[in-house]
């Protein structure tokens, strides 16, 4: 733990304590925000509730499906675009503007296409995540030094050997970065969808709690969500650091 880490921990604990005091002594409206202790209580209640666990499980399934699809399709499209230079150049400005477009507007279209089940949610998560994977895969492939290509030629490697033993490990760190975004965006896409229209999942549970004025459950679920996503992101960052530390600057 560095000095910065300690300071950060102290600040977070301090902020929570401040919020706790502000809530308990009435500085903040009880209708709006509840004390952190009650939030954690709500989180505990949520985790121990069967219904909520089912919701959480459902969301996780949807997120995982979206993630896997976006990784596979994203990597494949990235590889294809890397080869198809003309198509890639035509597509570049559109890719760069992709995340400016509110993709959730396609949600009703997906409901028509897939029905009122999990697939519109997965589709939104997929749409959100796949482009991040494509862009980062393209970036990684573009960064492969020309010296590697020529070295492979001099070593007289077959195309498969070149792809498997040079392209893959060389571009892997960038693909990993794309994967990190895919995780975050899959969560965002799926849960946002659950918010708007859905009968199940964490997003829906939060919306339901909000509409039922059940603040404790609502905040509890939000806390759970942040902890879950935060943990996944931290785990991915640590894993990434361990994987690529020895490459130091790739």
């Amino acid at each position: 733990m560095t000095r910065a880490d300690w300071i950060r921990l102290a600040l977070i604990v301090g902020a929570l304590a401040l919020l706790e005091a502000a809530c308990r002594y009435g500085y903040v409206s009880r209708d709006a925000v509840i004390p952190p202790t009650r939030m954690f209580e709500g989180a505990w209640r949520a985790v121990t509730s069967e219904e909520t666990r089912a919701d959480i499980w459902l969301t996780l399934q949807n997120v995982t499906l979206s993630l896997i699809l976006s990784l596979i399709v994203g990597a494949a499209v990235g590889l294809l675009l890397h080869k198809a230079t003309r198509l890639r150049r035509a597509l570049d400005p559109l890719l760069a503007s992709y995340y400016a477009v509110p993709t959730f507007v396609f949600y009703p279209l997906f409901i028509v296409l897939f029905g009122l089940n999990r697939w519109p949610l997965i589709a939104i998560g997929f749409l959100f995540a796949v482009v991040a994977v494509i862009i980062n895969t393209l970036d990684g492939l573009a960064r492969i030094p020309r010296a590697f290509v020529r070295t492979a030629a001099v070593m007289r490697l077959t195309r498969t050997q070149y792809a498997l033993h040079i392209i893959l490990p060389a571009a892997a760190p960038w693909f990993f970065t794309g994967a990190k975004f895919a995780v975050a965006y899959s969560f965002i896409g799926v849960i946002a969808g659950e918010f708007v229209v859905s009968g199940a999942g964490i997003g829906h549970a939060i919306a339901f709690a909000y509409n039922s004025f059940d603040n404790r459950m609502m905040y509890g679920l939000i806390v759970l969500l942040f902890v879950a996503v935060g943990s996944v992101n931290t785990f991915l960052s640590i894993w990434e650091r361990r994987l690529y530390a020895r490459r130091a600057g790739r």
Partner: protein, 267 residues
């Protein structure tokens, strides 16, 4: 290890694109192809599910000509521009401060990165509770989405200013103000503008989503009402409007970004 925002898809896409020469004609062709694909989709899924491109354009023209529309558009614009100004200005200053003061930056960065990658949509109920229904909630939605990338990018920009520039400034005996305005800002500007680009896009997103939940007015509200009543014609028309606006604005900012980066040494 590069910071998270270095890999932000919007910025990475530009970096990939910048290496290639612009192929505007090809892109135009691609757009035509996409519209053709759309038409095929209409034929496949039916006019009820997916209105045709022509029907959508005419519907949009009808919506925009309607007397209610300017009110909605202005509502959205008002909320968005306010949120944008807050995101960019506050984000810039906070980012500059965190970039200049090493320790603060180090303390804040993981928190900001974590917030950046978590679904902020889950904070919407909290925002609604805090701000109530209305324009302030929408602005708040927009700000919580847009301010974080601006802070992160600006912070990174200041931190990454090449030390040799600062040493040159000392060697030239510049004052703090001169150093700031003639060296730090120009050196950090390209990356700050990238942050603005991302901030712009996300603020728009946040404002729109805010309107879907927190308002009886605005384009987001029109959208959600159309979605609820199954009015696919309106949904598609508004979606087209948003896509075109967002893409044009993004392209304009991208052109600005590229012009600025032309003078930058590193890519």
């Amino acid at each position: 290890m590069p910071a998270a925002q270095d890999a932000d898809p919007l910025v990475t896409a530009e970096r990939v694109e910048r290496r290639a020469t612009p192929a505007t004609l090809d892109t135009a062709l691609l757009l035509v192809g996409l519209v053709a694909l759309w038409q095929v989709g209409t034929l496949a899924l039916g006019r009820e599910a997916l209105p045709s491109p022509i029907a959508t354009v005419s519907k949009l023209a009808g919506i925009m000509a309607d007397e209610d529309f300017p009110r909605h558009a202005w509502e959205t614009a008002r909320a968005f521009l306010t949120a944008l100004v807050i995101s960019l200005v506050a984000g810039l200053f906070i980012g500059l401060a965190l970039g200049a003061h090493r320790l603060s930056g180090e303390v804040a960065e993981p928190v900001l990165t974590a917030l950046y990658s978590t679904p902020k949509i889950t904070l919407y109920p909290v925002i609604l509770l805090l701000f109530g229904l209305g324009i302030s909630a929408k602005i708040a939605f927009g700000v919580i989405h847009g301010i974080i990338p601006v802070i992160l990018f600006t912070m990174n920009a200041v931190r990454n200013i090449r030390v040799v520039y600062l040493r040159s400034a000392r060697a030239m005996r510049l004052t703090l103000a001169q150093t700031a305005f003639t060296i730090i800002v120009p050196a950090a500007l390209p990356e700050i503008v990238s942050g603005f680009r991302v901030g712009f896009a996300l603020t728009l997103l946040g404002t729109l989503i805010g309107e879907m939940f927190a308002s009886q007015r605005g384009i987001g509200y029109m959208l959600v009402k159309a979605m609820e009543t199954g009015d696919t014609g309106t949904v598609t028309a508004l979606a087209l409007l948003l896509v075109v606006l967002a893409t044009c604005a993004s392209a304009a900012l991208l052109a600005l970004d590229r012009r600025l980066r032309r003078h930058a040494l590193t890519s």
